[in-house]
Amino acid sequence: MQPGAEFGVFSRVPGGVWAAGFVLLFMPLVAGNFWLFQVFGWSFCLGIIALSLMFLAGYGGMVSLIQMTVAVLAGYVVAILGSSGVEQISLGLAWWLYLPLAILIATAFATLVGALAVRTEGIYTIMITLAIASAFFYFTRQNYGIFNGYSGFNLVVPPRLFGIDWRQPTAFYYLSLAGAVLCYAAVVYVSRSPFGLALQGVRDNPRRMASLGFNVTAHRIAAYAFAGVIASIGGILLVWQTAQVAPFSGGISAVIDILIIAVVGGIRRPIGAFIGAFIFVLLSTFSPDILSAFGLSNERFKLVIGIGFLAVVFFSPDGALGLWERWRARRRSAVDPLTGKALAEGRP
């Protein structure tokens, strides 16, 4: 879906990626504004945030629920330092000042949380990041001096640059597409860099990596920092897409939505985050119509999402990508000559 690896050796890029890139690039010619802005724009924003979770979970083995909070914090910084509908708080700084600051502050927060969370493992990491995320949610809801409490900020729009209104559907589509491609490429690049390989080594066997002389804790914290950068880019795009940021943007259900997106798409590969986000956005946009077609109240979309998520974690731990790979493996019936097992392709 993402033309991620455009740079580098072009000939190695499979045809599917070229096709997907071509389709995505010329999408505005066929798709309506609703699809461009509401479906694709939103999918890219959520996909970037889920991508940061995928990086931590897939390559680092750390399932962190803090990524949505980091993204929302970046959105808050944009709203506070930039301009918004709440004029008594927003400072109205220039975009080249508040964008780096937003990424910097949110990344610092992510690193701090990471420093706490890497002291624990597995389920404990989930619990601690969930607890911190909820503390952030309750704090923003109660704090009126900086975060404007319950109502948060509205009218947070991207700056007019180069004479383009970036909130127009086509412009925002390309903006979020560019952000998604950039983040995807960064994650793919980092995962193949020495740091990324060491991180995957830490995921598979921390003790061996430690005895080889790698600083396991530092690698994990650095992974949190990198994922924080990705998440804050997603958060800035998300706040521009929805034009508002409020405590509920980082509420428990939003935090869990990101986990659902990453898992449903497939947490082992970066592209899974975007597939999951696309499925999630499609479901949440169109489930009212589907539900009322079945004679159910159209508020039951959480039920659809929850049952779908349950089915995925029950039957296919690798998410939609895992299903796809299994289907392909069965069609080709590719068999490893040594073990006799079906080949699973594209493992990280």
Binding site: V63, L116, R119, T120, G122, I123, Y124, I126, M127, I128, L130, A131, I132, S134, A135, Y138, F139, Q142, N143, Y144, I252, S253, I256, L259, I260, V263, S297, E299, R300, K302, L303, I305, G306, I307, F309, L310, V313, F314, P317
Partner: protein, 337 residues
Amino acid sequence: MTEFARRNPFWSLVIAVLAAVFLWLILAPWSPGLEEALGRKRVFLNAIFGGLTLGALYFLVASGFTLIFGLMRNVNLAHGSLYLLGGYLGYTISTATDQWLLTFPAVFILVALLGLLMQHQVFRRMQGEELRQTMVTIGLSVVLADVMLWIWGGQSYTIQSPDWLSGPATLPIVAGVGRNGEAIYMRFPQVRIAILVAAIVIGVGMWIVLNRTRLGMLIRAGVDDREMLTASGVRINYVFLAVFGFGAGLAGIAGMVGGTFQSLSPGEDTRFLLASLVVVIVGGMGSIPGAAIGALIIGLVEQIGLVYAPTYSVVFTFLIMAVVLAFRPQGLLGAGR
């Protein structure tokens, strides 16, 4: 306890002094200077007792959570949903039958049955896969939350406490001095006192069962070496089923309690899931005394924070968790992992 005092003379002294100051603050009448510094004594006392009862409620939820996790390594992030479901069921049953006390066993049995179903259908299939259990229970909690919203709607409910428990009781603690110089005694809702007592009884009972009975011995042994216990002819699966059912039923009862002196509405499930997460992180995973201490600390901090610094009360809870994590990642009473 004497062991602890012998090994850490400094810290036990600090704890003893703090406890003495605390007791003095509660029991002694306050001088005007102190009242000026800390506000009215009645407000302080109410915060303390509110914190104690809130801690009791947190203990009821968190002890079931930590029991299931500590003994069976089962991660149940749908525990908050069991709490809320227990509350809603309690509301429905008690308004229909008008029997507050009889509702408790009914709620316990219903929620415990649901817990048994979960253990049988979910956890037994993925024993040892903690992350998958987490994901599945998160999905379950999303589904349960929406089903409950479907059935009971978005409004908030309060369970009516019975006549013989309504109204305040007068405690033998001086809350202040009246205008004519006579002491005013503290008054506190009877329901909350009953809940506090019940939580203490349940906690002590659980500790005794786990540490002093044959069943407790079986449970603890099963945690350490399941195969050996099975080989000795114990049907360990039944023991674990019983523990899971008990922990779930406890969450249901806590929901009934919470619905009586607070209220029930969508969102309470995550609130209490998080409360139990924080409590067991602070107290130590799998330890009943740890859950008691953690619940006490979190309840007190939350209430005192609400009275004296309302904006930052959540941050205090979180700060305590962060400090505990930084110095003792396994929790105050947790065993080393």
